[in-house]
């Protein structure tokens, strides 16, 4: 996903001189082709995230569209005030490309795991928050972003995710529905958890149960109103997210459910715990521990009383 994103930035920069790539200290070879081909549009600014967010805000105010990539926690935690004031208060067309969403960097410990990034970013007025599910959706999102001058925060997965959004051509901010409109089970998710949820859906289908998965790549406005029939007909709605339980997709869903008077007694939640992990291992280890693998999601759904 990250490679596709950076390649897309390069492609966009060739066509549009407003597009700039800015990295912190991303390692030798990162976007070397762009660095050589478009040196004036390529910046590797070092380990100075607070400065970088201010720097790209100044560039954006003068008409550029900077795409800034580094590890998610270094964007969202280190430079929070700069994002809030320099970018969001000024409503500048900056794209924050956040590497390693969720537990991608589990082996590196809690300083590197972006477990609350969506919550932090959604709380900033005007900042548009996205979690695409695969490289194809990421590319479509970045291409569409050129026509939108609002600030963006975009969460990346680890990379190499199975492409599951092939049926959807352009990025249109809308939820993506996988399945029929009258399933008993609706699984709501965002980002790279979509693949695990689709895996759980297949396991359910193997035992004759139909499930619908709804993926929300755009988190500011879930636009659930278009899917009221699906929500109302479901016996169980399960929200699955690689994020702490508060402030992410589940919180957004509850806001919408209350606003649209959708009952919540049949809504459940699978997420990361509201705690820093002191385990390492792999992202998959943490998915398994917290019930976020396709098998664990499947099992949780089977355990729900009414299924």
């Amino acid at each position: 996903m990250r490679q596709e994103a950076l390649a897309t930035v390069h492609k966009l920069a060739k066509k549009d001189p407003r597009v700039l790539f800015v990295g912190s200290d991303l390692g030798a070879g990162t976007l070397d082709e762009m660095r050589q081909e478009l040196p004036k549009q390529f910046f590797m600014e070092g380990i100075s995230e607070q400065y970088i967010v201010g720097f790209i805000s100044g560039l954006a105010q003068e008409g550029f569209i900077p795409f800034f990539n580094t590890i998610g926690t270094f964007i969202t935690r280190r430079a929070y005030e700069q994002i809030c004031i320099d970018i969001a208060l000024h409503n500048l067309p900056v794209r924050l490309l956040s590497g390693g969403g969720g537990m991608v960097y589990a082996p590196l410990g809690p300083t590197h795991t972006a477990i609350e990034d969506i919550s932090l970013m959604l709380s900033i007025p005007g900042l548009q928050v996205f979690a695409p599910a695969d490289a194809k959706e990421m590319r479509a999102l970045l291409e569409a972003s050129i026509n939108d001058l609002r600030p963006y925060y975009i969460r990346f997965g680890k990379g190499g995710e199975e492409i599951v959004t092939s049926d959807f051509e352009n990025f249109d901010f809308m939820p993506k529905v996988f399945g029929s409109k009258d399933s008993d089970i609706v699984i709501c998710t965002t980002g790279v958890m979509l693949q695990n949820c689709l895996g759980a859906k297949k396991l359910l289908e193997k035992i004759g149960k139909s499930a619908t998965v709804i993926h929300f790549p755009y988190l500011n406005e879930l636009r659930i109103a278009n899917y009221l029939k699906i929500m109302h007909s479901a016996k169980n709605i399960v929200c699955v997210e690689e994020h702490v339980s508060r402030g992410g997709l589940f919180t957004q869903m509850l806001h919408e459910f209350v606003r649209l008077r959708i009952g919540t007694e049949n809504v459940s939640h699978i997420s990361l715990p509201d705690a820093f992990s002191h385990n390492y291992g792999s992202q998959e280890n943490h998915m398994d521990l917290n019930g976020l693998t396709k098998e664990k999601i499947y099992t949780k759904i089977l355990d729900l009383n009414s299924v």
């Binding site: 201010g54 100044g58 008409g63 000024h90």
Partner: protein, 280 residues
């Protein structure tokens, strides 16, 4: 022999224009009943010289493409900026009296979208320098000739982001960028030396790759002369350390921590400040 800039700043007798601009600050202070008075008095000559003699700007067209960019990174000194902007015709002087009131264009810190002519919203310290580097880089990328000026307080230099920015300004050889330090050596809680010593400040900026000049920050001729020398050295950003007196020009505000920020200011207090300004 080392020049005693602090004494020079102290010795300066303000001219009529500086006293008039201070009277505008008092108008705003009276209207709002609050404000960072002594910070504004500290930086007033710097902002005056910028708008009078240095910046390419047009109050009729605040977003003129070719304008020089000026960021008051020390946003709490905005009473000084507002006085100068009003005097240049960016808005009516009557508006000063609405300072900090509910629907005023003039808040306790300057806001870009509220007041045309404010380049960037500031308030939290340590932001303007990095943003200004981005603007200066934009001018270079677009091959435009406007310049970027950032005014910071010395207390603001406590922020780590300032020194991140300082490294990058010289890394990029941004000689169209000038940072000005309002070096009054006072912060809200006391003297800078007692809180976080900045000494030796000039050497610090030199070691970060800046061309550095020290000036008497209340001497409008000295300020104008140093600010007009652009660039001092090709490829180097410029740092002007302007030695100032916090509260300059109004004796009860001079070096007074109680006037760093004050709320619920009474008419009697304003009367005293006006009298002191007249006898300065």
């Amino acid at each position: 022999m080392d020049i005693d800039f602090a004494k020079l700043a102290d010795d300066i007798v303000l001219d009529d224009r500086s006293r008039f601009l201070r009277s505008l600050i008092l108008d705003a202070l009276e209207g709002g009943g609050r404000g960072h008075l002594s910070s504004a008095l500290s930086l007033l000559e710097i902002v005056r010289v910028l708008y009078d003699d240095i910046l390419s700007h047009d109050p009729e067209v605040p977003l003129l493409k070719s304008r020089d960019r000026f960021i008051l990174s020390k946003g709490h000194g905005c009473l000084g900026l507002f006085a100068v902007m009003a005097d240049h015709g960016y808005f009516s002087k009557e508006l000063l009296k609405t300072f900090c009131t509910f629907d005023s264009k003039l808040g306790g810190h300057p806001e870009r979208f509220t007041l045309p002519g404010v380049e960037f919203s500031t308030g939290s310290l340590g932001h303007g320098f990095s943003v200004g580097i981005g603007m200066a880089m934009a001018a270079r990328l677009k091959q435009e000739n406007w310049r970027t000026y950032i005014l910071m307080g010395d207390g603001e230099l406590n922020e780590g982001s300032v020194w991140e920015a300082a490294m990058h300004a010289s890394q990029h050889n941004l000689d169209s960028l000038t940072v000005i330090i309002d070096f009054n050596q006072k912060q809200a809680s006391g003297t800078s030396d007692l809180i976080v010593s900045l000494s030796p400040l000039a050497e610090k900026f030199i070691s970060f790759g800046f061309e550095v000049r020290e000036v008497n920050g209340h001497d409008v001729s000295d300020l104008a002369n140093q600010l007009k020398k652009q660039p001092l050295t090709n490829g180097k950003p410029k740092a002007i350390i302007a030695h100032t007196i916090k509260g300059k020009g109004i004796i009860s505000a001079e070096n007074s921590s109680s006037w760093h920020h004050k709320a619920k200011i009474t008419k009697e207090e304003i009367g005293i400040l006006r009298k002191e300004l007249q006898i300065q």
